[in-house]
């Protein structure tokens, strides 16, 4: 059965190899905003638009922001999360980060640096045969189920580099998950903005890390200067957490 599956997948791969993959793939999943420290799950839609060698992925929350109901949370999440633009032809990857004022900033990162370990495990996702692969990336373990029949090394967020489109991906701690639900042939998106960024030159992941650290330092300094806890036996602590590990 396994051999038949691989044979069938290989046949489809070979027959489809000459065609350029285009279309929009929709995913459904979740993201735990507290990264496992507590349950702060929200449901998200994922959309991956592939136009040949260029792609754009973004995640949007399905329902109302829960944070609006919580007094002790200041919700500054942007409308879209995990937004990533990839261009295979120039070996480029751009990702978005929104600052405290919700202004988007773009930084470059390496395109598919993760080393995948492929296995022979298989399952069907949306009627498409998929194979399993695992990797570690920026401090987290990920599992991906990719479709060898869809011949593009793409996937949600920064994930990719496998011999087939990733139709399901999740981290080891089940804080983030995207599973393919449907697809259509729409493949247009305006890539000129991202291409102009690449042409002009854009700072990489270390610059992003520096940007975040600077922001945290600013907050920390403000807390230190405004807290008077000597007489009240109160201790305040500020901790920072990032999805991708920053050294």
């Amino acid at each position: 059965m396994k051999n038949l599956f691989i044979l069938l997948a290989s046949f489809v791969v070979l027959s489809a190899d000459a065609q350029e993959v285009k279309g929009t793939w929709y995913y459904q999943g979740k993201f735990n905003g507290s990264f496992g420290r507590s349950d702060n799950y929200r449901e998200y839609w994922g959309r991956l638009i592939i136009n040949g060698e260029k792609s754009l992925f973004t995640m949007k929350e399905e329902s109302q922001h829960h944070a609006a109901l919580q007094d002790n949370t200041i919700d500054l999440r942007s409308d879209s999360l995990f937004t990533v633009y990839k261009d295979h032809s120039s070996n480029s990857l751009l990702f978005e980060y929104s600052d405290l004022n919700q202004r988007p900033h773009y930084f470059a990162d390496t395109l598919f640096p993760m080393e995948w370990t492929t296995t022979e495990e298989q399952k069907m996702i949306g009627g498409i045969p998929c194979l399993k692969a695992v990797t570690r990336f920026k401090g987290r373990g990920y599992t991906a189920w990719y479709a060898p029949t869809i011949t593009i090394a793409e996937g949600p967020w920064k994930l990719g580099g496998l011999p087939g489109l990733i139709l399901e991906a999740y981290d080891d701690d089940d804080n983030w998950q995207m599973t393919f639900v449907s697809t259509n042939s729409d493949h247009y998106f305006d890539d000129s903005y991202f291409e102009s960024k690449i042409t002009k030159g854009i700072e990489g992941f270390p610059a992003f890390a520096g940007f975040v650290k600077k922001l945290f330092a600013r907050l920390e300094a403000s807390f230190n200067s405004s807290n008077d806890c000597i007489g009240c036996q109160t201790k305040s602590v500020l901790k920072f957490h990032t999805w991708e590990k920053i050294d």
Partner: protein, 102 residues
């Protein structure tokens, strides 16, 4: 004779004034010592009061894949007091964040 007696009188007055000041000085230092003693005892009493209740409140600044978490831990004799102080601490911290944002 008259001049001498005036000078003597002045000297005597100065002496008595100095003596009077000297005699009161030890009293002031005694008072100071007593105050210091009371302060020490008061501080000792403060330390002895058991801090029975500890309250931790957390607040978050959610930026999606980046998050800042503020926690205020207050220890007080009563939970009510600890809660009030922790709420006050957290409110101040969140206001700092708001000030930075807006």
């Amino acid at each position: 004779m008259k001049k001498v007696s005036v000078v003597t009188l002045m000297l005597m007055m100065m002496f008595s004034a100095t003596y009077a000041a000297g005699s009161t000085k030890p009293e002031f230092s005694n008072v100071k010592n007593v105050i210091a003693k009371v302060k020490t005892q008061y501080l000792q009493v403060q330390e002895i009061v058991p801090a029975d209740c500890s309250v931790t409140l957390k607040g978050k600044l959610d930026l999606g894949p980046v998050e800042a978490e503020v926690s205020c831990t207050t220890t007080a004799a009563t939970c009510n007091e600890a809660t009030i102080q922790a709420v006050s601490c957290l409110r101040a911290a969140m206001n700092v964040v708001r000030t930075i944002i807006y």
